[in-house]
Amino acid sequence: MKITTTAAVAGTALLPAFAAGAAELNLICSADVVICEKLVTEFERAHSDIGVNMVRLSSGEAYAKIRAEARNPQTDLWWGGTGDPHLQAAADGLTVEYQSPRLSELHDWAVAQAETSGHRTVGVYSGALGWGYNTRIFEAKGLEEPACWADLLNPDLQGEIQMADPNSSGTAYTALATLVQLMGEDEAFDYLKQLNANVAQYTKSGSAPVRAAGRGEAGLGIVFMHDAVAQTVEGFPIRTIAPCEGTGYEVGSMSLVEGGPNPDEAVVFYDWVLGAEVQDLMPEAGSYQLPSNKAAVASEHAPDLGQVKLIDYDFAEYGSSDRRRALLARWDSEIGGRATD
C-alpha cells in the first residue's frame, strides 16, 4: 500500500513537468555551453512569459538535426556556430527570411552575411582563425613560436598539433576553406598533407584542439582565436597567434527555422539577442568574439581584428553546398583518417 501511495504522490508531483507551458521557444545553440546558458538565463529574466528549451549542438550537428527534421521541424531558432552551415541551411530552404528592425544597428560584416543568404540568416558575432600553443611544452622542447602557417610544417612539431575534422566541425571547415583561398586548392591540399605528419588527432569538436593544448595533451591547436584566448583567461598556458600570411574568419550566425512550432517567440528572441545591451553581457560568459551590434563593447581580452591580416573570405562560394561537398570529399580521400593514431 505504502509504496503505491508514494508512487502515486510522486506521479502527481511530476505531472506538471510534462504539461505544456504557456509560451515556449526551442533553441539550438551552437556556441560554448556557458554562453548558451547565459543567453537563456538572461532571456528568461527579460521575458518571464517565455520558457526556453535549449540544447547545445555543434554547428554540424545542428545543421544535421534541422535537415533531418525538415519534414517536421521541432526547432524554432538556431543561434551561433560558424556561418557556413547557416548559409547552407538557407540555400536548402530550411530557414525563413526575416529582416530584424535592428539590422541597421549591426556591423557591415553581419549585414553582409544576411544579404548573402537573402536575409535568411544574420551575423551575431565574428572571430578570426588562428591557433593557440602551450608555452610550457614549447619551452620544455625548445621550440620556436610558430607565427605563420608555414611554421606549422616544422618536423619538430610532429605529434604536437591538433585540429578538428572538417566533416564534423565548422571551425575546421573554415580552416580548410581559408587555406584554399589563401594558397589555391591544390597547394592547400599539399600543405594539409604535409601538416598531417604533425597532426596527432583530428578532434570532432571545433574548440577541442586548444583545450587539449591547454591541458598539455597536445602542443598546439588550430582554432578560432577567441577560443584560444578563453583558455588563457581561464589560466592555461596558452598563447594566441594570428598567422602572418593572413587568415580567414567566421561570422557566427543566427537563423529562424522554417515551419518551427513557435515562430512568434522565436522572433522575440531574434530581435532581443541582436541588441547592444545583450551582446555587452557576453564577455561575462567567456565569449571573446566581436559582437555584431556596433554599440556593443567587446571584451578587453578579445583579439583585436585590426591587427590581424584578414583575407577576403568568400562566404557565398565556400558556404555553397556543392563547393563544400567537393572540398570535404577531397579532404576525406586525401587526408582524413590517415592521422597517426
Binding site: F18, D32, R56, R71, N72, G159, K204, R215, A218, G235
Partner: protein, 728 residues
C-alpha cells in the same frame, strides 16, 4: 449472460467513444496539456476520427466500416467459435489498414510517388494521435477476444490479450525501428528512394580495408572494432575468472571489498572511466608525469586510440564478467575435484583437467558478453577515440556530423548488428549444447579446494593490482570534482558543484545550477521508465514461464535479441522511425521512456523467468481451482511472491535509465535533456570539473536509491513468516 459479450461490449463502447471524442491526430502541444479541449470545435485538425472521415478523409472510412461490422456481429451472432473467427479477422484487418494508411499518407500527401500516379493527389495527414492509438488497441483486443471465443488457451482472454499486446508493442518499438534503418538507407532526405548511398558505402575501404596487415595504412573501422572487441572480451574474461577464483578459492582477506568493486562500474556513467584515465595516463596525466619524472622517458599520447579504449573497457566490463563467472565457479561441484584428488591427481592437475573444463560454458558466456558490451560501447570511444573511432562512434558521426549520411549510418549499423547478433547466436547455440552436460553431481557437502600455489600467487597478485588500479581511478573521479583546474591548479574548490547544483534563495527558492534541468528530467524519466520496464518485463517473464502458446520460443528469442542490439543502433533507429507520421515521438519524453522500457526489458524478463521457476506451479493451480482467473492469480498470488524480482528489475532499469548514453544522445531534445547527454556536452567542451562533479552526484544518488531498494528487499525477507502483512 457470458463474459465474452460483456468484454466485447466494453471495448466496443470504448471504440465508439474514441472515434467520437478523442482527437484522431497528434496534437502538437501535447495531449496531456489538455489545452486542445477548448479549441476542438474551431480547429479541424483536432477533430475525432468520425468527423475527420465525414470531412473527406476517405482513408478513415474503412476504419469506421470495420467498427460498424464488429457492432453488427455483436448484435446478430451469438458468442462462439464462428463469431470468434470473424472477430480475429476484423481485428487483423483493422490493424493492417491502420498500418497501410498510416505509412502511405504522410504530412504532405502520399509518401510514395507510385501511389500518387495511381490514385491522384491526397491531402496530407499528421501523425496518429490519441484516437488512432486507442483504436489500434481496440483492434488488438478484438484479435485476442476473438481467439478466446474460439477457445484458444482454454479461452483465457487475459493471457491472450497480454500476448497480443506484447507482440504489438515489440513489433512497434523494436522491429519497426530496425526496419526503418534499412529503408532509411535507401532514401534521400526528402523521402525519394535511391540505392546510391548504399552502393557508395557498402564497399567503402574506410570500413573494410585490411591494409594495416600489409603495412599500407590504417585498417577499416569494422576490423578495428572487431579486433578491439576480441581483445576486451579476452581480457575481461581472464580478469573476471581471476576475481571469481580469488573470491571463492583463496584466503584473500578483502573479499567483501571485491564484491563492492563490482557494483561501481554498473552505476558509473559510461564515459567517466575514460575521462579519469586521461587525467591519470594522458600525456600530462598525474601518473604519466610521475613515471616521466622517475624514468626520464617520454610516454606521449599512447592512451588515445584503441589502447586507451581497451583499457577503459576492461575496467568497465571486468565486473560483469566476474558476476557471470562467480556463479559458475561456485557451481562447480567440489565432489568432482575431491574425486580427482582421491584418484591421486595433484592440485594443479585437478585444477587444469577438472575445474577449468567444468567452467568452460561460463567462460564462453563471459567472453561473449564482454564481446557484445565492447561492440556496443559508445562513451569510452567518444572520450578516448583518437582520430579513427569505432563502429558505434562512426555511426554517431555519420548522422550528426557535417557529412550527414543516413545510408552510411545504416550500413555501419548493419555491420555492427551482424557482429553482435552472431555473437548472441553463438552464445545461445553453445550454451544450449553444453550447459546441462557440465553441471556436475548433486548433494555434496564439501568445500572448494584452495587454488594450487602456482596459480594462486599470480592470480592474487593480478587481482590486487587491478583492484588498486580501479580504486585509484575512482578516487581520481571523486577528486577531480573538487580541484580548480585539473593538471594545473590543484587548489581544492567547491566551484564545480556550485555551478552544477547551485541554489539561490533570493526571491524564493531558485535552482540556479546548470545541471538541475537535466537532472530533474533524468530522474523523472528514470522513475517513470523503471516501473514500466519491471511491469512489462515481469509480465512477459510470467507468460514465458507459465503459459504455453504456439510460437513461444520465437517470441522469447525475439525479446532477448533486443539485448544484443547496440544502443547506438537503437537510438538512430528510433530517430528514423518516430520522427515522421504515422508515429511521431521525437522531441518528447515519451520516446525516451519507450527506449528505456524496450531496451532494458530483457533483464526484467530473465529475472521474472528465474524467479518464477522457484515458485511451485501448484500455487497457481490452487488459485485457479478455487475459481480465480489468471489475471487475479497473477495479481494476488504470483506478484506478492515475486517482490524481490520486481525490486531487482526496478533497480536495474532505474540505473540503466540514468547511465545509458549511446541511445539517449540521439533522443534528447531541447525540452527533455538527459544527464548523460549533458555531461557529454561538457566533456566535449573540456569542462571536465563540472562533468565530473555531476557524475559523482549521479553515482551518489544511484547508490542511495539502490540502498533504499535493497533495504526494501531485506525487510521483506525478514517478514516472510507474516506473509499476509508483507503482501499488503
Amino acid at each position: 449472460m457470458n463474459a465474452d459479450n460483456r468484454r466485447l461490449d466494453l471495448i466496443l463502447a470504448g471504440a465508439v467513444l474514441c472515434l467520437l471524442v478523442l482527437p484522431w491526430y497528434k496534437i502538437r502541444s501535447g495531449f496531456f496539456g489538455f489545452g486542445w479541449i477548448g479549441d476542438m470545435l474551431a480547429r479541424p485538425d483536432l477533430w475525432p476520427g468520425a468527423f475527420q472521415a465525414a470531412a473527406g478523409r476517405w482513408q478513415l472510412w474503412p476504419v469506421l466500416l470495420l467498427v460498424a461490422a464488429v457492432a453488427g456481429l455483436r448484435l446478430t451472432a451469438p458468442s462462439g467459435a464462428a463469431r470468434g473467427r470473424w472477430l480475429v479477422r476484423l481485428g487483423v484487418l483493422g490493424l493492417a489498414w491502420l498500418v497501410v494508411e498510416g505509412l502511405s499518407v504522410g504530412t504532405r500527401g502520399w509518401n510514395w510517388g507510385l501511389l500518387e500516379r495511381l490514385l491522384g493527389e491526397v491531402a496530407g495527414q499528421p501523425a496518429f494521435g490519441a484516437g488512432a492509438v486507442m483504436l489500434g488497441l481496440f483492434f488488438a483486443c478484438l484479435i485476442s477476444f476473438g481467439a478466446a471465443e474460439r477457445g484458444a488457451l482454454k479461452g483465457d482472454a487475459f493471457v491472450l490479450t497480454a500476448i497480443v499486446l506484447l507482440i504489438l508493442l515489440v513489433a512497434v518499438f523494436v522491429f519497426y525501428p530496425i526496419l526503418s534503418i534499412f529503408t532509411g538507407a535507401f532514401q534521400d532526405f526528402d523521402g525519394s528512394f535511391t540505392a546510391q548511398g548504399v552502393r557508395r558505402n557498402i564497399g567503402d575501404p574506410k570500413i573494410w580495408s585490411l591494409s594495416c596487415l600489409t603495412g599500407g595504412g590504417p585498417c577499416g573501422v569494422a576490423w578495428r572494432t572487431l579486433f578491439l572487441a576480441l581483445c576486451t572480451a579476452s581480457a575481461t574474461t581472464v580478469l573476471g575468472l581471476a576475481f571469481a577464483l580469488v573470491a571463492t578459492r583463496t584466503r584473500f582477506p578483502f573479499k567483501r571489498g571485491l564484491r563492492l568493486l563490482t557494483v561501481l562500474p554498473i552505476i558509473t556513467p559510461p564515459f567517466v572511466v575514460g575521462l579519469a584515465l586521461t587525467m591519470l595516463l594522458g600525456r600530462s596525466g598525474t601518473l604519466t608525469q610521475l613515471i616521466e619524472a622517475a624514468t626520464g622517458l617520454e610516454l606521449g599520447r599512447w592512451l588515445y586510440g584503441l589502447t586507451g579504449i581497451w583499457l577503459a573497457q576492461v575496467l568497465s566490463f571486468t565486473p560483469i564478467a566476474f558476476l557471470v563467472l562467480i556463479g559458475v565457479v561456485e557451481g562447480v561441484s567440489p565432489a568432482m575435484e575431491e574425486a580427482s584428488q582421491t584418484l591421486r591427481a595433484g592440485r594443479w592437475r585437478t585444477f587444469r583437467k577438472v575445474s577449468l573444463p567444468l567452467m568452460a560454458p561460463g567462460l564462453a558466456n563471459a567472453f561473449l558478453i564482454g564481446f557484445i558490451e565492447s561492440m556496443a560501447d559508445f562513451g569510452n570511444p567518444l572520450v578516448l577515440g583518437g582520430s579513427g573511432g569505432v563502429l558505434s562512434t562512426e555511426i554517431f558521426f555519420s548522422v550528426v556530423g557535417a557529412q550527414n549520411d543516413p545510408s552510411r549510418a545504416a550500413v555501419l549499423a548493419a555491420v555492427l548488428l551482424f557482429f553482435t547478433l552472431s555473437a548472441f547466436l553463438a552464445q545461445r547455440l553453445w550454451l544450449s549444447g553444453r550447459s546441462f552436460a557440465t553441471v556436475g553431481g548433486k548433494g555434496d557437502g564439501g568445500r572448494h579446494a584452495l587454488l594450487p600455489a602456482r596459480v594462486a600467487a599470480p592470480v592474487i597478485g593480478l587481482v590486487a593490482l587491478w583492484s588498486l588500479f580501479t580504486v585509484i581511478v575512482y578516487a581520481m573521479i571523486l577528486f577531480g570534482g573538487f580541484v580548480k583546474l585539473w593538471g594545473l591548479d590543484h587548489t581544492l574548490t567547491l566551484d564545480h558543484y556550485i555551478r552544477a547544483f547551485g541554489i539561490s534563495l533570493d526571491g524564493g527558492l531558485r535552482w540556479t545550477g546548470v545541471a538541475w534541468n537535466s537532472f530533474w528530467t533524468t530522474m523523472t524519466i528514470a522513475l517513470i521508465a523503471a516501473p514500466l520496464t519491471a511491469g512489462v518485463g515481469l509480465l512477459t517473464g510470467w507468460l514465458i514461464a507459465r503459459q504455453r502458446f504456439p510460437g513461444k520460443a520465437a517470441f522469447e528469442f525475439a525479446l532477448m535479441m533486443s539485448f544484443a542490439i547496440p544502443g547506438t543502433v537503437i537510438g538512430i533507429s528510433y530517430i528514423m522511425a518516430f520522427n515522421l507520421p504515422p508515429i511521431q515521438m521525437t522531441g518528447t519524453a515519451l520516446i525516451l521512456v519507450a527506449c528505456f522500457v524496450f531496451r532494458n526489458m530483457p533483464v526484467g524478463v530473465r529475472g521474472g523467468v528465474a524467479a518464477m521457476a522457484q515458485l511451485d506451479t501448484s500455487l497457481d493451480e490452487a488459485s485457479l481451482t478455487l475459481g480465480a482467473n489468471s489475471g487475479r492469480t497473477l495479481r494476488r498470488v504470483i506478484l506478492p511472491l515475486l517482490r524481490p524480482a520486481i525490486l531487482a528489475a526496478l533497480v536495474y532499469s532505474f540505473v540503466r535509465a540514468i547511465t545509458s548514453i549511446s541511445a539517449v544522445i540521439f533522443l534528447v531534445s531541447a525540452k527533455y535533456n538527459m544527464a548523460t547527454a549533458y555531461i557529454v556536452g561538457l566533456v566535449e567542451n573540456g569542462q571536465y570539473g563540472v562533468a565530473i562533479a555531476y557524475s559523482s552526484v549521479l553515482i551518489v544518488v544511484m547508490v542511495a536509491v539502490i540502498g533504499i531498494f535493497q533495504l526494501l528487499v531485506g525487510e521483506r525477507r525478514l517478514r516472510r513468516p507474516a506473509a499476509s502483512e508483507a503482501a499488503a
